[in-house]
């Protein structure tokens, strides 16, 4: 009449196997290669066009350096030790500023996201702040703090904190109410609920905010370094760039832009992109092929 226990077990095993077909994507190396070569080809093309434009003498050489000139300027900066010093100073400033923004932004995001009256009062201003370029604060900061590290960190914080806080808020908003109900059924209340349900559920939005927060801190830092230049601040990548401008060294200027771009891309690619991908893939929110 009905299934025996063993029959049920084998039936269920069959059903499970049918419904969870394993899709194996291409290998890791192959995926990496597939993701790497198109941008490389494109960059090579751009450099080729650049070289052609240079050779056609459409623009005067003091305005447009050749790719080789730019590379040479980069090598000179490296050999003199300026580049190393500047990169170290900027990256450590950026990291410190970002770390501070992370702490402040996270706490702010939690408070604004979870406390309703605060949300109503602070929420709109916080999201509005995101559209204000933090460079706008540089003049004020110089008048308040003088041309020193405080000015730089102030500007970096104002650039990154709103992004991180807003990321946290949207992460919290996206937590399915069902998860909170399940948490309550399982006996999670107060801190336990925050730790085991609310915060892990909010993580994807938060990581997105972190990623954006880093981009904003790096931009703000460069803007601040370009404007604020004194011996006591030492040499940053932005200051190095401005120095080249003062010397009317166009190859040095272009080299400086590349340095800023490459550092930004490297940190994004080595740190934030993998972090976000790991978080999303674990939750099945990302196709395995990406």
């Amino acid at each position: 009449m009905t299934l025996q226990t063993d029959d049920l077990a084998s039936l269920e095993a069959g059903l499970d196997a049918l419904e969870t077909s394993v899709v194996t994507g291409p290998s890791r190396g192959r995926r990496l290669w597939a993701a790497t070569w198109p941008p490389l080809v494109f960059v090579a093309l751009l450099v080729g066009v650049w070289q052609l434009v240079y050779e056609a003498h459409v623009v005067a050489a003091y305005r447009l350096p050749s790719p080789a000139d730019t590379l040479g300027a980069l090598r000179d900066q490296w050999d003199s030790g300026d580049l190393r010093e500047a990169v170290w100073n900027s990256v450590s400033r950026g990291a410190l500023g970002f770390a501070a923004s992370l702490v402040i932004g996270t706490v702010l995001g939690l408070v604004v996201g979870r406390v309703k009256p605060v949300r109503r009062a602070v929420g709109p201003i916080l999201s509005g702040l995101q559209s204000l370029p933090s460079v706008a604060w540089v003049p004020a900061a110089i008048l308040w703090f003088g041309t020193n590290s405080a000015t730089i960190y102030f500007v970096v914080l104002l650039g990154a904190v709103p992004s991180i806080a807003n990321g946290m808020i949207s992460g919290l908003d996206q937590v399915p109410p069902l998860f909170l109900r399940v948490g309550r059924v399982l006996g999670a209340r107060g801190l336990a609920s925050a730790r085991h349900v609310l915060l892990p559920a909010a993580l994807p939005g938060y990581v997105g905010g972190m990623r954006q927060g880093w981009a904003f801190s790096w931009r703000s830092l460069m803007a601040a370094e370009l404007v604020a230049r004194t011996p006591e601040l030492g040499l940053g990548v932005g200051q190095l760039l401005d120095l080249s401008r003062q010397n009317a060294d166009i190859a040095g200027v272009i080299a400086g832009v590349f340095t800023i771009l490459v550092i930004g891309i490297a940190i994004e690619l080595c740190l934030f992109a993998p972090l976000e991908r790991t978080v999303l893939r674990r939750r099945g929110l990302l196709a395995a092929t990406l």
Partner: protein, 263 residues
Amino acid sequence: MTILQGREAAQVQVVQTGPAVSVRGLTKRFGAAPNVLEDVSLDVAEGEFLCILGASGCGKSTLLSLVADLDQPTSGTVEVLGGKPSLMFQEPALFPWLTAEENVQLALRLKGVGKAERRERTQELLTLVRLKDAGKKRVHELSGGMRQRVAMARALAQDSHVLLMDEPFAALDAITRDVLHEELVRIRESQKLTVLFVTHNVREAVRLGDRVVLLSSRPGRVVKEYDVKIDQPRRIESPQVAALSVSITDDLRTEIRRHGGQS
């Protein structure tokens, strides 16, 4: 009845004797809207499998929320034997940042079970739902039926006498649902569970329940009760299940017809 009295009557009482679940004069309304549930009284005996059946708007899910203490009744009382009941939803609602076994472990952890015992108990529970080899899988790697079985293991981890189920199989395909019915009956017998099962599927109610309670809609009231005197194991296709389903469906349709035209 004043609002204050309603509040006083709100808490789910944990009792040590009597039926597994005892609901008395339960009424619930949200704000100024009409009553969702009206004067519902029912008992679930220890070890009984009771199915609550009704069309949309009969307050089935509201009833379970009240018994699970997720919501407060407007008036009436709920008593549960032995402690807080566990609850399963239509969605498995597993946490996607955890593996299958971590989901089960979390339930144990929130109960204060120690680490070593947690691991051991999780293995037992996953073995019970026949998923002992899938413990390391993430939620998105499991099929719908497997997820619902992990959810069952998680509910059982709470170690409560009473399991509340809110249309737990409604989102599954018919083949998987049929297999899970079989599983539920087996697990319920081996674990000596009391089950309060809500569904809008008449055959499912007859397939599973020792007793079926039909609720009316808007407001939800108890209309009729049926003792299902068919021996387990049953099959959903069997003529006995079909025969009782026909008569219950007729009553259900009569209830639904009342809402067309007149009101």
